[in-house]
């Protein structure tokens, strides 16, 4: 009980891990590309949470700076991903990711 009430870095890490797992499950199981992309955002956020928690733990700001870089990366990823999605939708009239199989050998 004591460990439950005293929030340590580990708590944040467990939360991050849980979020990460949710993201992974989403990426691996869903068909809808939009939701897959959102799951990737979940994963990135889990990473961010860890980075910020570590930054708090060590009292430095490197983790926060990296979190900002990750957010930048997420923005780029979302832009390109959604661009691809639109191009894909225009060609195949679907947003299901398992129908993207033209390159599958």
């Amino acid at each position: 009980m004591e460990s439950m009430l005293h929030i340590t870095t580990l708590h944040y890490l467990v939360l991050g891990a849980a979020l990460f797992l949710l993201g992974v499950i989403g990426v691996l199981t869903r068909r809808n590309v939009v939701i897959v992309l959102m799951s990737i955002e979940l994963i990135l956020n889990a990473v961010n949470l860890n980075l910020v928690a570590f930054s708090r733990m060590w009292g430095g700001l490197h983790g926060q700076v990296f979190a900002i870089f990750v957010i930048t990366d997420a923005a780029a990823e979302a832009a390109v991903g959604l661009g691809i999605l639109i191009a894909f939708f225009r060609n195949k009239e679907t947003v299901n990711i398992d129908e993207v199989n033209l390159l599958k050998w």
């Binding site: 992974v24 869903r30 708090r56 930048t72 191009a87």
Partner: protein, 169 residues
């Protein structure tokens, strides 16, 4: 001012985040997923505030909730969702996916139970007030190169997105 009732808010916010995360990956309708994701992101911004990272929290709200999620919603509206909603929601390898994720979860559990002693009990003190200045100093000093690379990445992403999404260039 020191945070009050930290455990209560931590469990509240993490509960919101996890419920939001579950909703993101289970909803049929992408708009509902996006709504759940927004809730998750906002809760996470609050957790950043609890971790003395106000600047990251602000960036999280502006960029994620105000920018990226709007982009998501925008695209969801452009691609019609009616048909997709009536179809199968999970792909054929969902069993494998769940197993892989469970394995990963087991790995995390193992790591955290084994290595939880290396984390110090008490976080180091941090000055809240000049967080923004310090981040700026880091960003434009030590991480200047990475910052430039990130801006280049964004430029490439802009061009890429335009090339992808435009019908005729």
């Amino acid at each position: 001012m020191a945070p009050v009732a930290t455990p209560f808010f931590f469990y509240l916010l993490s509960g919101i985040m996890l419920i939001g995360g579950v909703l993101v990956i289970t909803r049929k309708n992408p708009v509902h997923s996006a709504l759940a994701l927004i809730v998750t992101l906002l809760a996470q911004a609050s957790i950043y505030l609890m971790l003395y990272a106000p600047f990251v929290a602000g960036v999280q709200i502006i960029l994620y909730a105000g920018g990226i999620m709007v982009l998501f919603l925008f695209v969801i509206m452009l691609v019609s969702v009616d048909r997709v909603q009536r179809e199968r929601q999970f792909n054929s390898q969902w069993v494998v996916g769940i197993i892989a994720a469970t394995a990963l979860g087991g790995l995390f559990m193992a790591v955290y139970t084994k290595g939880k002693d290396i984390f110090p009990e008490h976080a180091l003190p941090m000055v809240e007030s000049d967080n923004t200045q310090q981040i700026a100093m880091k960003l434009y000093g030590q991480y200047m190169f990475a910052f430039e690379i990130a801006s280049l990445l964004l430029l490439v992403a802009i061009i890429g997105a335009v090339v992808m999404a435009k019908k005729r260039i």
